[in-house]
Symmetry: C2
Subunit: 466 residues, 2 copies
């Protein structure tokens, strides 16, 4: 029996198991659901054990966090490649409940879709690996996978992964891996299979400009002393040049440029800018760094965004003052190989160099996140792409994501390259009412998983040395 045959004949069992898991409301953000997150972890560990994983454990997170699940299925060859698969078993809250057409934890099958909180993000996608591994074994006749497979399924991803980095550090030895498979992203569309290859990182700063020790009467003093709001406007306006580039010295020094092949592949994505602007709160224009497309700007280029700015009188009517101070919150989206600390240091230097005479600047920064990046021509990504192409029977394109998750911590702490393999869709309504998943895509995901171990094993020599 080949992989597809095995997946198809085991589809009902797979779907029923998933539906059972989806009845557990593992909402990590709400303390009332802590027991359910634990039940969800237990359910998964039992399921993986039943599927044949020799090791399947519930791992308590540090600091009384919520448990992750760890499972391991060793290859026969002790020198085989080790692959760590990451996903999560906790889910988003379900408010507003009244917008759900069926109760969020009572899964409903309908027209090939499965509706439930977590169906796509991320229980459905986590579970296809379990079916995929068994499909590989059935089709190959082997007793063990061709690579050592480790699963680490987090329980706090939807509440910001507060203990994840510490968990990784604590269990670094058991989590050792040559490559990390991330299964928590989306494809471009059901008929446009794609793989994510990067996630932007983040650096955060807040700046205060202080002038007089109190608000001054603008009639008595206006025109004679510096106004902190004018200073702030100049600082923020000066952050970008006329081409939309960030002016902080050195900001782009470590930015990995897009290569021609990557730009060509991005351009193949059927992108409807008008529709995208609609999704962007009916924004009226796609603007940004000159020389780049919208997708390149939001995925592959770093940015400086002011998230908040304030100072002086903000109530009704007028008040003729020169305010004592002005404030701004600024975040930077980073791309490989920018370092959050370098970027905030550059911002500090920029503020120091550009603070108008007579004003005093204070800059505070918050911990950031490194960007993730997987080169499209790297052995791991190429292996993942071949697995996707075998399952979907068509060219697999590449996407990136504009925001950050715990993936950077994984890459940093485990010290291995990332491959993003997932079959979710933007249409899955994750985080929203009526979350759903396309069941035929989940089964396709199981096929991808089955091929992935073979494809990774085939390039293990490159990955072992990379």
């Amino acid at each position: 029996m080949d992989v597809r045959g095995y997946v198809e004949s085991n589809a009902r069992e797979f779907i029923d198991a998933l539906k059972q898991w989806l009845t557990i409301p593992s909402i990590s953000a709400d303390p009332a659901y802590r027991p359910d997150v634990r039940r969800s972890a237990r359910w998964l560990a039992d399921h993986l054990s039943g599927a044949g994983f020799p090791v399947a454990e519930v791992w308590e997170a540090p600091e009384e966090g919520l448990p992750a699940v760890f499972a391991q299925w060793p290859a026969t060859d002790p020198d085989a490649l080790t692959v760590l698969v990451w996903g999560h078993h906790d889910v988003q809250p379900v408010t507003p409940l009244e917008e759900w057409t069926s109760p969020p934890f009572e899964p409903v099958e309908q027209d090939g879709l499965l509706l439930a909180r977590g169906a796509s993000d991320d229980k459905g996608q986590v579970l296809f690996h379990s079916l995929g591994i068994r499909a590989y074994l059935a089709a190959s006749g082997e007793q063990a996978p061709p690579v050592t497979i480790k699963l680490l399924i987090e329980g706090e991803e939807e509440s910001g992964s507060p203990n994840f980095a510490n968990l990784l550090r604590r269990e670094r030895d058991r989590l050792k891996a040559d490559v990390i498979v991330i299964t928590d992203t989306t494809m471009w569309a059901a008929d446009v299979p794609s793989m994510c290859t990067a996630m932007r990182g983040l650096a955060e700063a807040e700046v205060t400009l202080s002038g007089p020790s109190r608000d001054l009467h603008s009639g008595s003093f206006g025109g004679g002393v510096p106004n902190p709001l004018h200073g702030m406007a100049s600082l923020i306006a000066g952050l970008h040049d006329a081409d939309g580039r960030v002016t902080i010295p050195g900001f782009y020094d470590t930015v990995l440029p897009l290569n021609d092949e990557e730009r060509e592949l991005l351009a193949k994505l059927p992108f409807d800018e008008k529709q995208w602007l609609g999704e962007a709160g009916d924004s009226q224009a796609a603007t940004g760094e000159k020389g780049f497309t919208t997708l390149e700007r939001i995925w592959a280029r770093p940015t400086a965004e002011v998230n908040g700015m304030w100072g002086g009188y903000t109530g009704a009517g007028g008040k003729t003052i020169i305010p004592k101070e002005a404030h701004a919150k600024v975040t930077f989206r980073l791309v490989a190989h920018q370092e959050p600390d370098d970027v905030t240091a550059g911002f500090r230097a920029y503020v120091e160099a550009n603070t108008p005479e007579g004003l005093t600047a204070t800059v505070t920064t918050r911990g950031g996140a490194r960007p993730c990046h997987s080169a499209i021509d790297s052995p791991a990504v190429q292996a993942g792409r071949r697995a996707m192409q075998r399952a979907f029977g068509r060219e697999v394109l590449f996407t990136k994501e504009g925001g950050s998750g715990p993936e950077a911590d994984l890459a940093d702490i485990i010290g291995a390259p990332l491959v993003f393999v997932a079959v979710g869709l933007d249409a899955d309504r994750i985080h929203a009412p009526n979350e759903r998943v396309d069941l035929s895509l989940l089964l396709r995901g199981a096929e991808v998983s089955a091929y992935l171990w073979e494809e990774l094993a085939a390039v293990s020599a490159d990955l072992k040395h990379s």
Copy 2:
């Protein structure tokens, strides 16, 4: 008996009358004191009647406002010049009461100073005209002043003159005058007599820049759509050029330039910039429009000041959004002959021309105030200056004021030039605890008043035709 002799021999009586008036707590801003404001008006009308004014009336303000006092002493010659003197009889609130060394409405004489709320602002200064007119009559042996004198002493100045313009319009006929004397300002110092010659006007605007219909996630959309806060920063930063000049087209077109004589006279004022910066909330630098001194900048040059600016997330910590909108409140200080409506129209045009692509701007404006200006070589100012110089026996310099009061309404509605004659000092602590006045300066003010009628009469041919 000459003017000074008369003033000196009537000083005690004058001071005692003033002390009596100062016991009336005519606080216009506090409704609890409305009966006291009325008592104060009645006291003044009775006093002026007793001093010889043939007409002395309490005028109720429109809209149930607080009463003004009108008094008139006609010249014998029906063709004589008419002079309208403006001041006010209401006073500021007295909080914080605990900082007063003696009760604010129990006047205390101490080392040549008189301490009480209103001693300088403006009861003491209003009353010196009553003594001055009698000193003129005593010294000249005349039965009537050489010009028709009208007094209009307002009762709502300290609460923003809400009904003053309407009162002026209602009584325009009886208030008809060839020149208006304003007695509510200060001199540079006790030993540096000076006259105010201008007050800056005001224009107000508020601008909102709108982008997406909701706050956007800066990871998903950052770098691809315009951020209203960036747009606002650019708009505000662009309001001034590198020389500190306002960039609104036409902004300076009607600005009356400072002439050399005026600049020389301003430069004669003993100005201690370090001390002034201390008073400006310990501002760290005197900055502003290039090519002008600090006094010129705050008195004689128009400005654009942002009084408030806000948008996006302003709470604790960070929030990675592109906010839906940004706001700023802007006021302009105007100098002759700028018109508030022209300036706000110019700002509107500036915003329209400079709103970044993809953002929508909304500008609202509020009623402004015209600037006041009295040319230093005008007949009225020259007459006032001669009166001051005769009383003080030294050169009288010129100052200006950065802010606006009801003076512009007077000049506009009555249609006559303004002369600022007053002997208050910045050291008088007006609006603050322990307000005081230098009694010797009030008596000098009475002398100025006595000479003023003669000096104005002497240039009546010029003023009648001006």
